[in-house]
């Protein structure tokens, strides 16, 4: 071993040193980040659906799966079983079901994404850029306001797919085939966690493989084209193998594959508006929604950096980026060390020190800065075009690396855009899409190559600032420790205590054996109330989760035995209808909710109300108790 080390060239030594330094920097950043998480994760951000987003929809369903209810049969919803099995296993291991578990799974996924971002970036650039990408990835991914682990787990597969594929696109022969097989396997295995992620991954990698084959075939490089065809074949085998694993996962959850196909593959797209709507959305994502912050001065800076790269290097081909060269000088190390330590140090101290809020102007500014990484899309597009011009690459390796980066850009953007069709608006960087590390990579490649000494430090500081955005501000407001129940171990603010009170009252009214129905259904609140639902097959009575085919049966079941307590949130029908109509008018969930609202005057009395926030409006949780002696419906 010693001999091997001593036989290394000076540049290899330097590279090894750089690798050690980079990993040491990542270790410091990880320690700072984990310290931050220890304070941050127990501070609940979404107390109820609409407080800002929604949280913890997996744990309560996982509990039901753990109790032996069969997915897609006893409880039907369009979410695959992977995340439920994971949470169920954790619940079984720890012997309790807490929201905190789901929050920690999400947080650790964020950490893993940060490390993966480094591993992805260093394949296409220097160690310094790798660390920069990792640091900024951690900042971005932790901001996602929706904390449901079906998203996080499925996206972990997507990121892992990108990581493995970075190896595949830069390898040849058997090694490449093996990597492509793994990429295919991960792509289809993500179907075990979220359907749109799997669709995006498969579409993305098919596009990337097609691109790689097309550039080889167009240039008349037959060997290269054949190599890509072999890669495609391996990818296809991987997809098949992954699909097999998904079937096993479905069976492990006690579900039937047929039920899974119906609920996840057929109901799922239908609930999002159907194939035509999804295609229109996709078109709008590409040609209507802004992908970058379109403001005058920042645009001028983006152009200045891009033009500086072109002036300095003669072109914008970046195939030479990962070639060994010293990148981590003392100044860089100091910067990369200080950024996470200072940022997370301050944030942790504020949380631990019971600071209750940040200045609104400062929070808004930090929140706005979340849009900065999207400028990476501009550079990604510029590099993409430059790599198409093969003459700009001085060597075959550089040319290949250029095309490899293009393939990764293509796949990650395709996957992210398709993933986003869960919602009707394209909001890059809102969710933890796999394009995040790629956009950051392109952004930092540009700042580094521009030769403008201020560019990278300014970008880094700007990108660390969103840590102090709205989500941290919400966490700071959480001062009340919850000691028992589904939220045990969490801290909440005044809105959280209202929700706790509402849940406690519903629990009390229902008694130990009574049933409670929350409409429109918020699984987090259902988990908090901790009383059985009526025996409805629909697992979540919500617009994009509740298929029409279940409505008639569920209405019958409901009318046969009405719940003892009904919780309505928000009180104003116009509010929840406005949200429902994002996806559909006259949805099954809407009909079910209206049906129950129609029963309230005769069958229930309004017991109590609790103030909430419903997105843009003042909301109200209304708790209704069944009237004593109310006549049965059937």
């Amino acid at each position: 071993m010693t001999e091997n080390v001593s036989s290394l060239s000076p540049s290899d030594h330097r590279d090894r040193r750089e690798a050690w330094v980079a990993w040491a920097l990542l270790a410091v950043a990880s320690a700072a980040f984990l310290a931050f998480l220890s304070q941050y994760v127990p501070r609940l951000n979404n107390f109820v659906y609409s407080d800002r987003e929604f949280t913890g929809w997996v744990g309560p369903i996982a509990e039901r799966v753990g109790r032996g209810e069969r997915l897609y049969d006893d409880l039907v919803l369009p979410i695959p079983p992977g995340s439920f099995l994971l949470l169920s296993a954790i619940q079984r291991l720890t012997g309790k079901a807490l929201l905190l578990q789901e929050l920690w799974v999400a947080a650790l996924s964020h950490w893993a994404m940060g490390l993966m971002a480094y591993a992805i970036a260093v394949r296409f650039s220097s160690r310094k850029v790798g660390v920069l990408v990792a640091l900024c990835t951690l900042v971005l991914v932790v901001q996602t306001p929706k904390e449901c682990v079906y998203d996080h787990t499925s996206l972990l597969f997507a990121w892992l797919g990108v990581l493995v594929a970075t190896r595949a696109v830069l390898s040849e022969g058997t090694k490449a085939s093996r990597y492509w097989l793994s990429t295919g396997l991960l792509s289809s295995l993500s179907l075990g966690f979220k359907q749109s992620t799997a669709t995006g991954m498969i579409a993305g990698w098919v596009a990337a493989l097609f691109y790689l084959w097309a550039v080889e075939a167009r240039a008349g490089r037959r060997d290269g084209a054949a190599e890509r065809l072999r890669g495609a074949k391996a990818f296809a085998i991987g997809v098949l193998a992954g699909t097999g694993l998904v079937v096993l996962l479905v069976l492990a959850a006690g579900a039937r594959p047929r039920g899974f196909v119906q609920a996840v593959l057929l109901d799922g797209p239908e609930l999002k508006g159907g194939a035509r709507t999804l295609l229109v959305n996709l078109f709008a994502f590409l040609f209507h929604y802004d992908a970058i912050k379109n403001t005058i001065v920042p645009t001028a800076f983006v152009l200045a950096i891009g033009l500086s790269v072109a002036r300095r290097h003669g072109n914008v081909h970046v195939g030479d980026e990962p070639e060994a060269r010293p990148s981590l000088g003392r100044a860089s190390i100091a910067l990369l060390l200080a950024a996470p330590v200072v940022t997370y140090g301050i944030a942790t101290a504020m949380l631990a020190g019971q600071v209750r809020a940040l200045q609104p102007f400062f929070t808004a500014l930090c929140e706005n800065l979340r849009s900065v990484p999207a400028y990476g899309f501009v550079y990604a597009a510029v590099f993409f075009a430059a790599h198409l011009h093969e003459k700009s690459a001085a060597t075959a390796e550089r040319r290949a690396r250029g095309h490899a980066l293009n393939a990764i850009v293509l796949a990650s953007v395709t996957c992210s855009v398709i993933y986003d069709i869960s919602f009707v608006e394209f909001r890059p960087f809102y969710y933890n899409e796999p394009c995040i590390p790629i956009a950051l990579l392109c952004l930092f490649i540009a700042t580094e190559r521009s030769g403008l000494v201020w560019a990278t430090p300014v970008a880094l500081v700007t990108l660390m600032m969103p840590t102090f955005g709205a989500k941290l501000n919400r966490a700071l407001s959480d001062g009340t420790l919850v000691r028992s129940g589904h939220w045990a171990g969490l801290r909440v603010n005044y809105r959280g205590t209202e929700v706790l009170d509402a849940a406690a009252r519903a629990r009390e009214l229902a008694g130990p054996a009574g049933t409670v129905l929350v409409l429109p259904e918020d699984v987090e609140l259902v988990g908090l109330i901790a009383r059985p639902r009526p025996k409805l097959r629909g697992a979540v009575i919500f617009v994009d989760q509740y298929p029409k085919r279940l409505l008639a049966g569920d209405l019958e079941t409901l009318d046969r035995r009405l719940p003892d307590v009904v919780v309505i949130h928000p009180r104003h029908a116009r509010d929840w209808r406005a949200v429902f109509r994002t996806w559909a008018t006259g949805s099954a969930a809407e009909k079910m909710t209206e049906h129950v609202l129609g029963l309230l005057p005769e069958q229930y009395t309004l017991d109590s109300s609790y103030p909430t926030i419903y997105f843009w409006d003042q909301g109200q949780i209304d708790v209704y108790a069944r009237k004593l002696g109310a006549p049965a419906l059937r």
Partner: protein
């Protein structure tokens, strides 16, 4: 040979321009008489200069007899020329200005498409008040003159052009203060930029100093002309400064707010559409430029040859004719308006022109990043290099546009007719030409021209019924909403009788003119949030109490509707104080509601109420009804924000308290 082809291209360009002008006049003949804003809030507002021009003709002195923060130029122009050259000719002038600007940078071919695209964009502004348009025409002319000065190689000619540019910048103050400030300081900044780049290139900076001196002389002349205009109108400089500078900035929120707005425009406000597809399109253009070795720097643009191809001439001609003559034909034949969803799709095309900001910034930054010795031709002939010329003009136009925009809190570079528009189009067409993407130029021109068929054109299609030859709307065609307004105005006129006064609140000058009866003797010319100085409120309230108008027209009925609009600028405006006084103190005591008309107010259903003064004390039943109406009308009222300077002093009486009617 080169000169011959250039001359031929020049002739072709002029022929196309002539064709465009004819087609546009034909289009305007049908388009202009169709009123698209029948009242404030229908979409925007229209015709606020003409009625004030009429007051000048009646001998009223601006800023003395009637006070408002708008300079007098447009009123004078309207008073003299309103029948001869209304909106369309001014807009056409903008189109020709665009050609004049573009011609100093690029070939006639690109200048023509720039002019055509500009014309298609500027006619879509929904707000048709001549003070904006006249100010912009003069500011655009200043930018064009400056650009010609930069391109000129003849010293005498150059000097004259700089004086002209300065004069036009200064004279813009006769029309709009914010535009004028931008126009004046824009060229100062541009000359500063040129001096800096001269220094970097180790060139003597004496030329810039001389140019600045000439420009300054021109500005002084322009400002003197404004002063003369004031004297002719019987006004005073002091009153003008008070109304147009001091009141105006306060009415828009004060200096701090305006500075903050500027910051937001530059750093935060979305200025152009940037979808992934758009980014890809720009990268494609960049790629083509790179592959062709053209780059983003346009140093050689004036000398570069890019002669017309026959298909380009035919296409541009055909597109211009199809857009304007086709538009005229549909209106002339009274074709039924197309369905609403089609308008939405056509209006999406409006996202395209602002995207040209990216090409403008591209050229601008490329010139900055590649700072080096100036082009050879510059040193030889005395003209400023094309790239630097473009940047200097872009700075001047941008300053003018930015300042003009301060009227609104959001940045709308392509909503108002800003001087930046032609330079943005110019940058696009020049880059497309350099990238040899002629087909894309033609395709984009088609889309820009096709966007004419959007919401404003649709509204013109609905305005198909001629109203006749009398009154303020004479010779116009109206839609059903327009007729409602005409009927409401007729009712107010009838109630007021020939000598009675009518007050419209919040004041819409167009509707007041349509009523055609005198206003009460108040000093504020327009009782509207950003037009009415708070210093006038107390006196005007007293005058109203002493001379209550015979008729009061309130639109919209719901205070929350107009208050929300007022709060864009101010929560403690003088206009709101006056309106509240009328609503809470005057109407319940002295007036009865005579009639109500259905309207729309900023896309929501609204109501226009006509109140008439009672000549006899109300019966108990009438009193009860009035109290009920007042309570209904003010039930959704927003609270007035306290004045931080005068705690409690500026807070109006709460209308939520029941008002006792006193006989």
């Amino acid at each position: 040979m080169i000169a011959q082809s250039t001359r031929r291209d020049g002739r072709t360009a002029h022929a196309l321009l002539a064709l465009m002008c004819v087609a546009f006049v034909v289009f305007s003949a049908e388009f202009v008489p169709r009123l698209t804003n029948v009242h404030f809030g229908d979409v925007e507002f229209t015709g606020w200069s003409g009625p004030l021009g009429s007051r000048i003709l009646r001998g009223d002195r601006p800023y003395v007899d009637f006070v408002l923060p708008i300079p007098p130029g447009s009123f004078v122009v309207l008073a003299l020329l309103e029948k001869l050259c209304g909106g369309p000719l001014l807009l056409q002038e903008l189109g020709l200005n665009a050609y004049a600007m573009a011609r100093t940078i690029t070939a006639p071919k690109n200048a023509v498409v720039t002019a055509a695209a500009t014309l298609a964009t500027v006619i879509q502004l929904n707000k048709e008040c001549a003070y904006d348009h006249t100010a912009q025409v003069v500011a655009w002319a200043s930018v064009a003159a400056g650009m010609h000065a930069l391109a000129s190689t003849d010293d005498r000619h150059k000097n004259r052009l700089w004086v002209l540019a300065g004069f036009l910048s200064g004279f813009t103050l006769a029309f709009k203060q914010s535009t004028a400030l931008g126009a004046i300081f824009g060229w100062v900044a541009s000359l500063g930029y040129l001096a800096l780049t001269d220094r970097r290139a180790a060139q003597p900076s004496g030329a810039r100093r001389r140019e600045l001196a000439r420009y300054g002389r021109g500005v002084a002349l322009g400002l003197s002309a404004v002063w003369l205009l004031l004297l002719v109108l019987g006004s005073t400089l002091r009153a003008f400064v008070q109304a147009v500078f001091l009141d105006a900035s306060m009415l828009k929120g004060g200096a701090k707010t305006l500075a903050w707005n500027l910051m937001v425009y530059l750093f935060d406000f979305p200025s152009y559409a940037a979808p992934l597809g758009g980014i890809a399109a720009f990268v494609f253009i960049g790629y083509r430029l790179f592959v062709r070795g053209a780059g983003l720097r346009i140093t050689d643009e004036r000398e570069r040859e890019s002669p017309y191809r026959r298909w380009e001439v035919i296409t541009v001609g055909a597109l211009v004719v199809a857009a304007f003559v086709g538009g005229w034909l549909l209106l002339a034949l009274d074709v039924r308006p197309y369905p609403g969803r089609v308008i939405g799709q056509i209006d999406r095309l409006k996202m395209l022109p602002p995207m040209t900001l990216v090409t403008l910034l591209g050229i601008f930054v490329a010139e900055l990043v590649h700072l080096g010795p100036a082009a050879g031709t510059e040193a030889e002939h005395g003209a400023v290099g094309t790239g630097r010329s473009f940047n200097a003009a872009a700075m001047a136009a941008f300053a003018s546009s930015l300042m003009h925009n301060t009227s609104a809190p959001e940045f709308r570079p392509f909503y108002d007719n800003n001087a930046l528009i032609p330079l943005c189009f110019l940058s696009l067409f020049v880059l497309l030409d350099r990238a040899d993407l002629r087909w894309l130029s033609a395709a984009l021109l088609a889309l820009f021209l096709f966007s004419i068929g959007g919401n404003k054109y649709f509204r013109a299609m609905t305005a198909s019924v001629p109203i006749g030859t009398n009154g303020h709307f004479a010779w116009m065609r109206l839609n059903d909403r327009g007729f409602t307004m005409a009927i409401a105005a007729a009712r107010a006129r009838q109630l007021a009788a020939p000598e009675g006064t009518v007050l419209v609140l919040p004041e819409d000058v167009q509707f007041a003119a349509l009523v055609g009866r005198p206003r009460p003797p108040i000093l504020g010319a327009i009782v509207f949030v950003d037009q009415y100085a708070p210093r006038l409120a107390e006196n005007d309230i007293r005058r109203l109490d002493e001379h209550p108008p015979k008729v009061i027209v309130v639109h919209p009925r719901r205070p929350a509707a107009w208050q929300r609009f007022f709060r864009i600028w101010s929560g403690k405006s003088g206009a709101e104080r006056v309106v509240r006084h009328v609503l809470s103190d005057m109407i319940p005591k002295l007036y009865r509601r005579d009639s109500t008309f259905q309207t729309t107010f900023l896309y929501e259903p609204g109501k226009l109420d006509v109140y008439v003064r009672r000549d006899v004390p109300p019966t108990p039943g009438q009193r009860e009804r009035t109290a009920r109406e007042a309570s209904e009308g003010t039930s959704e009222e927003l609270d007035m924000l306290p004045d931080p300077d005068k705690p409690g002093g500026d807070v109006g009486t709460s209308l939520k308290e029941p008002n006792e009617s006193k006989p």
